[in-house]
Symmetry: C2
Subunit: 309 residues, 2 copies
């Protein structure tokens, strides 16, 4: 599965149990030849353990790791679908899993490896167990591992719809928080992404914890959430029209607003560093010199810049 | 006149001609023995120049400088009051001025020298010309040089009321945007301020231009303006009650929200640098270790921290 870089940011859950976001988001999918997670899974039936997942194995880039609670959530969700389809005692629903995942880029270097990793995990699992699901349906499962992973089920430009909060209490409601394509990669092939690794260290505040602090303490966050639907609409319009000027302005404003609400969090969250700000100033000076937007920056929850141009 | 450091920030004008702010603000006045501007003015009647101010002289820290347009505004306002009181052709209204100002601290090092400087100028001028005005009335004149200067007419903790926008079109309306004391210095003498000079260089974006960019382009700014009245009320309550915990939390949130709206500006304004963020993280860690707020940071339009403790 590929990596995706959001231009309308996901930050904040309205439901932390079911990974439902406070706002819709939108990303560009990067070329899999450059940045991708490849995941291979073996199924060993029958299982002997009563608690599903306890005996599953996980290897990342050749090294054994524990199955994380978020991986276990994704696996449990797929097993539940398998149980509904094949029966609770079927090999598909109870088999032990050996998961081998590898990234063709540095893991944990602020390059969104959790998005590609959980997308690959969800897709490979559904495929292995013979569950016939659309990429959007699989995206709702990948979302349980890492929110932004749901957008890595598609190429091109991808929206993640927040779903209707009024339906959150229903079984079907949470399944509407899924990813779907806006335009495919062939629609606007001229746009390139350049990743500037400012720091490859671990981020100072983990996204999951950071976004909940923002939801709980930022006095400006609710206003941002109110504005995102307009931003989404404008961004989709710019993509369909291949309007780089509009796309660039929206992308930079959106990145800055996301980091502004981080800074408005108590205690404040600050992912951008001096070098990040030098890149921001450079891009604005460069565009001013060109007389039009020829490059746009966006920063996820870290100091690394992604430049779209 | 003393320097003041805002704990509820002034950022944004609703009227750039008359220096009327978008929101009320509140500051602590520092000890004049440490940071103050001392201004001495000589009046040479009669004036020969038809255009008032053209022949005025200005010396800062011993070096000759041009009278700036903002100084000329303050001088013109006082001359107008002198003309109303003594007559348009009086020596007070037409005399040539020789202004000598000196700071007992480094000028232009991000230490709010414009606040003390314009407060001293307005006070000295009104005093010299024998105009009987209250400090609040003088504050409305100092405001025309630098908004935050109006708060330097008082010691202790000082509010600058934004005034009623509905009256802006009247003559009297703008005169209601004045400073007045909340509690005097003797009310809470335990509170100290420590200024941490992170960088003594000129700020990257001048406040006057920066705040207008924020008003014009930040999508979150209007929401901040809506929230300031509640913040002002909570801050005044904390000061009256000498409640350091509440004061500290409000001060830090307010500083962060101000810088968040700067970052939400297009192009983004970023005054804080890596060292500023290290101070922020240190203060939160220190308070967490103490189990209560024992120190609070605030940052004006620059990287330097003021710690209240």
């Amino acid at each position: 599965a590929p990596v995706n870089i959001a231009v309308v940011k996901y930050w904040g859950k309205r439901d932390t149990d079911r990974y439902l976001p406070t706002n819709s988001s939108l990303s560009g999918t990067l070329d899999m030849a450059r940045l991708a997670s490849t995941t291979t899974i073996h199924l060993f039936p029958p299982a002997t353990a009563a608690d599903a997942g306890a005996d599953d194995r996980f290897e990342l880039d050749g090294a054994a790791h524990a199955v994380t609670p978020r991986m276990a959530r994704v696996i449990a969700e797929v097993r539940q679908a398998a149980a509904a389809h094949y029966g609770a005692h079927s090999a598909q629903a109870t088999g032990r899993l050996a998961i081998h995942s590898a990234n063709n880029f540095p893991t944990a270097a602020g390059l969104a490896s959790s998005a590609s990793g959980y997308a690959a995990l969800a897709y490979a699992l559904c495929h292995l167990l013979g569950l016939e699901m659309s990429p959007s349906e699989i995206s709702a499962i990948a979302r349980l591992g890492s929110g932004s992973a749901c957008r890595s089920l598609f190429g091109g430009w991808v929206r993640w719809a927040m779903g209707d909060p009024a339906l959150d209490h229903t079984v079907e409601g949470p399944r509407q928080s899924i990813a779907s394509p806006v335009v495919d990669a062939a629609h606007w092939p001229q746009v390139q992404a350049l990743i500037c690794v400012v720091s490859a260290g671990m981020k100072s505040v983990a996204s999951t914890r950071g976004m909940q602090q923002t939801v709980a303490t930022s006095a400006l966050f609710a206003e941002r959430v109110r504005q995102v639907p307009d931003t989404m609409h404008a961004m989709e319009t710019a993509l369909v029209a291949r309007d780089f000027e509009a796309f660039a302005q929206l992308t930079m404003r959106e990145s800055n607003q996301f980091h502004a609400t981080c800074l408005d969090t108590q205690p404040p969250i600050h992912y951008l560093v001096d070098t990040s700000f030098r890149i921001i100033d450079f891009v604005h000076a460069f565009n001013a010199h060109a007389g039009e937007a020829v490059v746009a920056y966006t920063f996820d929850a870290g100091p690394n810049a992604v430049l779209y141009f």
